[in-house]
Structures are given as C-alpha cells and as structure tokens.
Amino acid sequence: MASLVGYQPEDEASHPPNAYPDYVSTRKRAPVHPPIRIAHTLSEITGPRLVRGASVLESLDLTRGSGGEALGERVIISGRVLDGNGRPIPNILLEIWQANAAGRYAHEEDRHDAPLDPHFSGAGCLLSDAQGRYRFVTIRPGAYPWANHYNAWRPSHIHFSVFGPGFASRLITQMYFPGDPLLALDPIFNSVSAPEARDRLIAAFDVETTIPERALGYRFDIVLRGRNATPMETSR
C-alpha cells in the first residue's frame, strides 16, 4: 500500500460558475447538468510536468520582438506560485498571452480595427523558479471592444495558464490592472461573485520591482488549489 495526498475541494466561493448569463457566450456552452463529484485517485493527483519540448526560460521579455521593440507602456509582471497553504510551488509552467498596446491580439480571428505590432506576439511561457517565483517583461495590453453587449469593452488583462503539480490543480485565469474603470462593467471579471476573490485577480503596483527610467512593476501571486493534510490509502 502507498499513500496519496489528495486535493481539497475547489473553494466554490472563489470561482465563477460556468452558467453566467451576463457573459452571453456561456448561454449555449455551459452544461445544464451538475458535474458528478468523484474521489481523487492517481489520475487526478498526478499530472503533466514538461508539457512542451520547446525551451522554457525562467525569465521572459515579450517587448523585444523580431527585429525591434514592441510599442506601448513597458511593464514587469512578477509574483509567486503558491499552494493553498502559502507554500511556493517550484518549476511550474506558466503560459501567458495578451493583446498588444492597441488592444489587438496577434490572432487571425481577432477582427478589432486596431493596428497589429510586428514586434509584439503577445505570447510566451516560463517556469517558476525554486522559490516559486516568476517574472516577465511585457507591455501593458490595451482595452478592446467585444460583442457581448452594447458598448462592451474588456478591461486590460493578461491571460495565464498554469499547471500545478497534478491534473486537479490546473488553472487558467486572467490578470487585471489596478484602478481600471472597465472592471466594474466587465461580466467576465464580475462572474466571480465574492469581492475578496475578485481582488485576487488584480495585480498590485509595486515600486520595488519598478525599474527607474524603464518600466513599471506589478505583482501578481497565483494561488493554486491546496492539498489535504492527511494521505489516503491506495493499492499499488
């Protein structure tokens, strides 16, 4: 017999429901049946580690694209990847993507009438270090309109895809900037009902990581689902 440590149940008060009609695309996509809860086994506790063969760095600079510098306000995003007990999680793959300074994604389906930046792809990946820390340099993404409702605009945001230690600890989220007036109007941000949980989606301006004459620093810690305190038994 071997011991496995399962994950705590998702903290439902911290997460959005999938069915949230104000975000119109959920109406035909969110399941109507409640999900069926299953016990954790090796299938949920294990998970992918190296998911990309490509070189993954511990630092990343998206502002130096092919042959030139990206346009826009340079920002440095840094933080830690933690578990629910505040312990750092090292060697976690973070994948990020975002619009450019004009609010346009380098994606063939983005039809927003705003310029592309040939020096900004807006996509990259990096690993957290031994203390769970990560850091990358990018430009502040612009707001952009979307078709959800009349005069709908997404607040500036950066997408994060995070692999925790197991299949159960996967997280995809969006990081926002403090003081953005569009946050109050955004159904995706407001799909998280608890204000204290929504606040965890907003980076904090950080003068400590701001580089003089160069770029503003923002801190964004990512907290993944916690583990149980006690192991469960399984056969081998």
Partner: protein, 188 residues
C-alpha cells in the same frame, strides 16, 4: 494561514498562438509501448453547433497503467521513456479534434481495486468560465463494470464517456456541452 485561491477565468478565443503547437496532439511514436490508437471527435454546443475555439487537454497512464509523475509510486519499473501522457489540441473550424496516442492500462483506484482504462480530459473554451473535466473510457472492457466512476453514473448517461470504435484503433469521442444528452462532466 490559508491563502485564497486565484479564481478561474475563461481561456477566451485567442489562446491559439500561446497554447497550441504542432505535435502536441501526438503522444506516442514508434518507440512507445502499447496499442497505437486515434481518438477523434467534435465539440458541440447547446444548439448542436460546432465549437471552433475549444482547447482540449488529455492526461493518461502508459500501456501498463503508470503515470509519468513522481507521485505514482511505480515509477522505477513501469515507466515508458517514450511516453509522457500529455496531449493538447485546439478544435478546428468544424469543432473537431484528434489525438494520436496509445491505449492506457488500468490504473489503481482508492479502494484497492483497479480503475478501468481511461483518459482524463480537460476542456476549455470561450463561454466556459472554468475548465470542464471528464474521462474517456473504452468499450468492451471487463473493468468497466466495476469502475468506481462509471458506477456513479446513471445508465443512459454512462454511454457518453465510452468511446465508439469506428475502425481498428480509431475511436470517436464527441463532446456535447449542453442539453438533455450532454456529456457527463466530473467534479474533481
């Protein structure tokens, strides 16, 4: 001290350049042990319209039921150096996806028994604020009758998790997001 989790937010429609790359939907090569299979399917919404901007990830054990992960206690003897068990695919304009992999072996459960061979599935899309998770099972498996997850499901819905064999080594797994006959999703 408790740290509140970072909330989920939707993957949105524009993840492709960051998350999808050629070859991520191929898990096995000629060195991989086990039966080579293809799993293909289509993601459909509540109107049965194709979902062309979904992201599907799979995570599975190797041919002898071992996961390539340090918390699987059988690492030394059962690992296959030519198989790591993770795949990712974006759906195409018709909502279709395809993985080339191997059939996994049975994996230990929590009750001392074995789980039937299965593949763990995550699905993300614009219009889904969180991940959906489900499992792919295989037809004609003796262990299906005693599998602890399949046993939880009422009979008419259980079929949504069992792939249909369309040819030798080719299996079909359609995902219906919403409706009376929607795919069973699991809370893990």
């Amino acid at each position: 001290m408790k740290f509140g989790p970072t909330p989920w937010q939707t993957v949105g429609p524009f993840f492709g350049p960051a998350l999808v790359a050629p070859g991520l939907d191929v898990l096995a090569d000629s060195h991989t042990r086990g039966q080579r299979i293809f799993i293909e399917g289509q993601v459909l919404d509540g109107d049965r319209s194709p979902v062309p901007d979904a992201l599907i990830e799979i995570w599975q054990a190797n041919a002898v039921g071992c996961y390539d992960h340090p918390e699987d206690p059988r690492q030394d003897k059962a690992l296959d150096p030519a198989f790591h068990g993770f795949g990712r695919a974006g759906t195409d304009k018709s909502g279709c996806f395809r993985f080339a992999t191997i059939k996994p072996g049975p994996v230990p459960g929590v009750d001392g028994g074995l789980q039937a061979p299965h593949i763990n599935v995550s699905l993300f899309a614009r219009g889904l604020l969180r991940r959906l998770t489900t499992r792919i099972y295989f037809p004609y498996e003796e262990l299906n009758a005693s599998d602890p997850v399949l046993k939880l499901l009422p009979e008419p819905r259980r079929a949504s998790l069992i792939v249909k064999q369309v040819a030798k080594g080719r299996f079909r797994f359609d995902i219906l997001l919403q409706g009376d006959d929607e795919t069973v999703f699991l809370e893990i």
